[in-house]
Symmetry: C2
Subunit: 669 residues, 2 copies
């Protein structure tokens, strides 16, 4: 043959023969970390294989970012070259996760040996190779952790010795097969050599606190929290209201901005201009001579009042959530101290917020790409850090979609570096890709389109997308029937039945939900003008007094729903949701499960607030993990009534004049 | 407010506000290049957006790898923040492709201006800002290519000047709106500034020759190509057979290995051992004293005969495809020259190929991770290069799945560096992930499971996967009804009808297909033992003589099918395939389209080789682009008969005793 002339380029360094691909969950090919929850099982899958027919083995490793030591566990083969493994984060914060894999030469030898022994061809066994592989496995085990590994290592070393001394290849092979069988569990877990033959795929995961995955929010305006009709509320009044919030079963109390409010271009009642002398202004027009984002408005109290509120809330298991609205009133100290933090028109004036032809003269947006980007971004981080230093671990971020993604990615990472258990909720009601990007860059929870999804088909499609799409790896929905900005049309004409229906949909479908109260439980339903989603006499612009003891209040049904949420793990996560077939488009039914605790909750809601609706709900007891029996006893936690449902079709009849929903849990004997 | 103490880390360098994500097609997140074809439109989509509400614009750029100059064209918005663009590679080889995007500040200003003018608020227009943006756009255009861009640049500069001189903001704004409207097409195409504000996403694409996308293969054993019964065939006989191959309409003639065949442990007829003195051996047991992979076996002829074959084939539009079987007989020169290129057992002997308990003593596999990896890999590249130097542009690679992926990635890239129009076909019948990985690392075409997909449901599912799954970005199927290794069960008991059915399925469903002949057209259907897929008297181990003029030969139907493939663009690509509903599970029907040429082909096959089958084929003329009429004239190119099909249901009746298939094309008036 010809000489092989060196016309080819160097093949480069040897690479592992094993391939790791299709690793899940990855967010944008690993550009962003996937999201885990402290204490929750986090499942990783990957395709792991090699050319030819050699068996491979794979381990899943993880460690806190910056740590040196890996925790590792074997991954199981699911067939078709797919492997799966799990990890459980123990603290909040970033993790490094790695799939490591190699050819299992020992398993290959043993598989081939069994075939040769079965064919009576023990003469073809390469026993020296086997004892070398057994000794190598023993060496790997000796580097592993735990007494079991050390014991297995010693056992395997003995086997390798005996094999070398055995009288025949047949005996040696039988020793190897019996010994590796004996130490199989340890062998399955043995470390993977860190040499060039091992393949590795590393990616990032961030573990959030449990609160990020399961939270029940109550929003109120502190200045409307006074028990006395003549006096505006204060933070002290909010502290007094904690008992009520706790009775209703909420664990997050979210306050709109509590900072000094600007006076220049202040808005009056129902968003009119100019404001009158008694108008209190919008809490989102932040800053005046009294201070900016790090101060408490004098009319609400002091930092001491704030600290008391946070402490007493905490004692009741309630986290106080703050609003981060990164914008300024024209009176904000930054406007004079840092005029370069704002955008200017050609005539030198500062640009106010606008959505042409509308202008919002009471708000100056910040210029996040200002030349003093460093100064502005650090100042905004300082705001967040200051409130975190004061005990706040949940931030609801106002309109994050109007600020750069890179800013949020930096701010959230920077905040979590010091306070990894912080939860950021993205208040972005905008295009889907923008909302998803915000979730990717670090927001723990996201407002959703739930508020505008009314019909059965659109609710079904939307929740199937939320719980099933690739977005599940990073997008945690938080659904709200109403907010101070949105009196949903579904609430405007349906009365009590529509409020209860929307409540049970929110809290029964989604692990994170919230209401804006007491407006919700007192069923405010008047828009500022017909066809608008703005509340008439919106609390954004004026102070109200609420009669919490109004007998029409929904506080009882809210408390029942929230108690069920606290008691039922199935309602605390979003993964396992299935809609049930009902032969009536006005009735929606679903089932949420938690497989680890065998918990099951079934929701049924009549979407028609005006008429009785009835139909049959299809139930597959086996598929729902409800046992092999032909029926199952259920209790409706909304009405405290009991039912027995059958495998197959179950009749439901929901009267909006009574209660338009069932929330059914397994009857405990 | 408090000082902002420098507790935060530096936000880092400014990043573009525009996001580019979800770029398609990417293979394994860009780890491998996506595949394009010279002359074919290559479509790129991406999500491109910014925070807030600013309009963005995106360009698609591409250039040959290593080139300095980009070709660029605007991407169109599809809504929902999705943009799409196309490129058409002009030569085979690697491309760099880039999506570049930026905020379109000018479009934003114009949009806002229109809103303000509509509301009669021209006093709020920032005209200086606009004339600055117009001047910037003119500057971008001046950097662009072509006379149109230069003219638009001049026009915009004039407008900017006029705006500054205009008597009122209203007049200036109207000048801007009219002028940008006038130059809209050029503005849409203007270059994107290469500064820090532009977002870019770069990825790799490799363009293959047209042959990679559309090929019709004929495989034959040269030693069986003799026209005389008593004399084994030679390369000269193959040259004489080119007229026949061309008459049948094939454009790739694939030869099993033509190298010297080993004698040690040679296999006899029907794979028996030991071989008799007259046995010719398997062509895949490569190498003996006469040479190895770069030589032609003396019994087949000389390198001169080979060169003549390649030249005369080329004159007929036929490419000769070589077999790359990277393994050695025990007599291969490398066994003595490079014993370290083979794997050794503990006793020092060379490992033969084995699948325990079976051993293949006539084959030594190569050790691709040998210490002399560099020497071995370069030698194998030298083999490939040598045949490429001799004019070969298509390689069918034997069992690539038993060699490392990294080797193929290197070998194919290295070969294509010099010969970018080379086509590599992967002969890997193995697990799906392994077959896909081979396609990702660079194989242009891949054998498939078609050979074992018989029933309508499994054919439908498989071809929907092949043409619709993410694999479409890199996996080009090449389907074969038979190969020398596989006498498919579907051919063993169905006679002529089953051969025609499988032929029309292969060539009518897939742009790349092949048959192993003359065994196929002469309908060999006897397995070596009942239940086996090995041919009786397999040509792998012995010489045959074929009577090409046998009146039973399928050469006429093959020629008709292949002529249709050459004439109909719809049959030359795999993208646009739809199965048609038929109310009979024994009848499968499909439609292939090429939208660019409005070409449509409909295939209908009776899968039952024994009985007449009839049924109704559902046809949606509008969906298939067959016009708005109520009927369409079709011609069956297999039987030269004409039909008129209706929108709706069309009766078909296929008699296996006559011909079990229709291949329908639009009747040309």
């Amino acid at each position: 043959m010809n000489d092989t002339k060196p016309t080819s380029r160097d093949p480069g360094p040897a690479r592992p023969d094993v391939v790791i691909e299709a690793v899940e969950p990855l967010v944008d090919c690993g550009r962003f970390p996937a999201k885990a929850v402290v204490g929750d099982t986090f499942v990783v899958t990957a395709d792991v294989f090699c050319h030819g027919h050699s068996p491979v083995r794979a381990l899943l490793r993880h460690r806190r970012a910056g740590s040196r030591n890996w925790s590792e566990s074997p991954m199981d083969s699911l067939g078709n070259d797919v492997f799966t493994g799990v990890l459980v984060p123990t603290v909040a914060g970033p993790l490094e996760v790695e799939v490591a894999a190699e050819i299992d030469e020992l398993a290959r030898w043993l598989r081939d040996a069994q075939a040769l022994l079965g064919a009576g061809s023990s003469d073809q066994l390469d026993i020296d190779r086997c004892s070398q592989l057994v000794a190598e496995a023993a060496g790997s085990l000796a580097r592993g952790q735990g007494a079991e590994a050390a014991q297995a290592a010693r056992g395997l070393h003995e086997i390798a010795e005996k094999m070398r001394a055995a009288p025949s290849a047949l005996v040696s092979a039988e020793l190897a097969l019996a010994g590796t069988d004996l130490w199989g569990a340890a062998l399955f877990r043995r470390p993977i050599n860190d040499g060039a033959t091992a393949a590795k795929y590393r990616f990032r995961v961030v573990a959030a606190s449990q609160r990020a995955a399961f939270s029940t929010w109550y929003e109120l305006f502190p200045r409307s929290a006074s028990p006395e009709e003549r006096r505006p509320g204060t933070l002290a009044d909010v502290t007094d209201r904690l008992a009520y919030v706790a009775e209703l079963g909420f664990d997050v109390l979210y306050l709109p901005p509590i900072h000094p409010i600007g006076v220049t271009a202040r808005k009056g009642r129902d968003n009119t201009s100019p404001a009158g002398p008694l108008d209190v202004g919008s809490p989102w027009a932040i800053g005046h001579a009294g201070g900016g984002h790090e101060e408490v408005a004098a009319e609400l109290g002091t930092l001491g009042d704030f600290a008391r509120l946070v402490t007493e809330a905490s004692a009741r298991g309630i986290d106080v959530a703050m609003d981060l609205a990164f914008q300024c009133s024209p009176d904000h100290p930054w406007v004079t101290e840092h005029p370069d933090w704002f955008r200017h028109r050609s005539d030198g004036t500062i640009e106010c917020a606008e959505n042409p032809p509308k202008r919002y003269e009471d708000i100056y947006p910040l210029d996040f790409q200002t030349r003093d980007r460093d100064g502005l971004w650090r100042a905004l981080h300082h705001v967040t850090k200051t409130w975190a230093d004061r005990g706040i671990r949940i931030f609801r971020v106002d309109n994050p979609h109007t600020k750069p993604f890179a800013f949020w990615e930096w701010l959230i990472a920077e905040t979590k570096r010091e306070y990894p258990d912080t939860v950021f909720l993205s208040e972005a009601f905008t295009r889907p890709k923008v909302m998803h990007r915000l979730a990717k860059v670090g927001f723990d929870q996201s407002y959703t389109y739930f508020t505008w999804r009314y019909a059965k088909a659109e609710l079904t499609e939307y929740f199937e997308e939320l719980t099933g799409s690739p977005g599940r790896a990073y997008f945690r929905p938080n659904v709200w029937p109403n907010t101070p900005d949105i009196l949903a049309v579904s609430l405007q004409h349906g009365g009590r039945a529509s409020f209860i229906a929307r409540l049970v949909l929110a809290g029964g479908l989604c692990a994170n939900y919230g209401i804006y109260g007491p407006v919700f439980e007192l069923m405010w339903d008047k828009p500022v003008v017909e066809g608008s989603e703005e509340y008439l006499h919106s609390e954004k612009y004026e102070v109200h007094h609420h009669d919490l003891d109004d007998p029409k209040s929904l506080r009882d049904v809210i408390a029942r729903l929230n108690l069920a949420r606290r008691s039922h793990r199935a309602l605390q996560r979003d993964g396992d949701l299935a809609f049930l077939e009902v032969d009536n488009d006005q009735i929606i039914a679903w089932c949420k499960q938690d497989k680890s605790s065998s918990d099951v909750v079934i929701g049924v809601v009549n979407l028609d607030p005006h008429w009785v609706q009835s139909g049959f709900v299809a139930l597959d007891l086996t598929a729902l993990g409800l046992g092999a029996g032909s029926s199952v006893p259920l209790r409706d936690i909304l009405s405290d009534t009991s039912y027995v449902w059958q495998a197959g079709r179950n009749y439901v009849r929901l009267d909006p004049a009574v209660i338009p929903a069932h929330l059914l849990v397994l009857e405990r004997p």
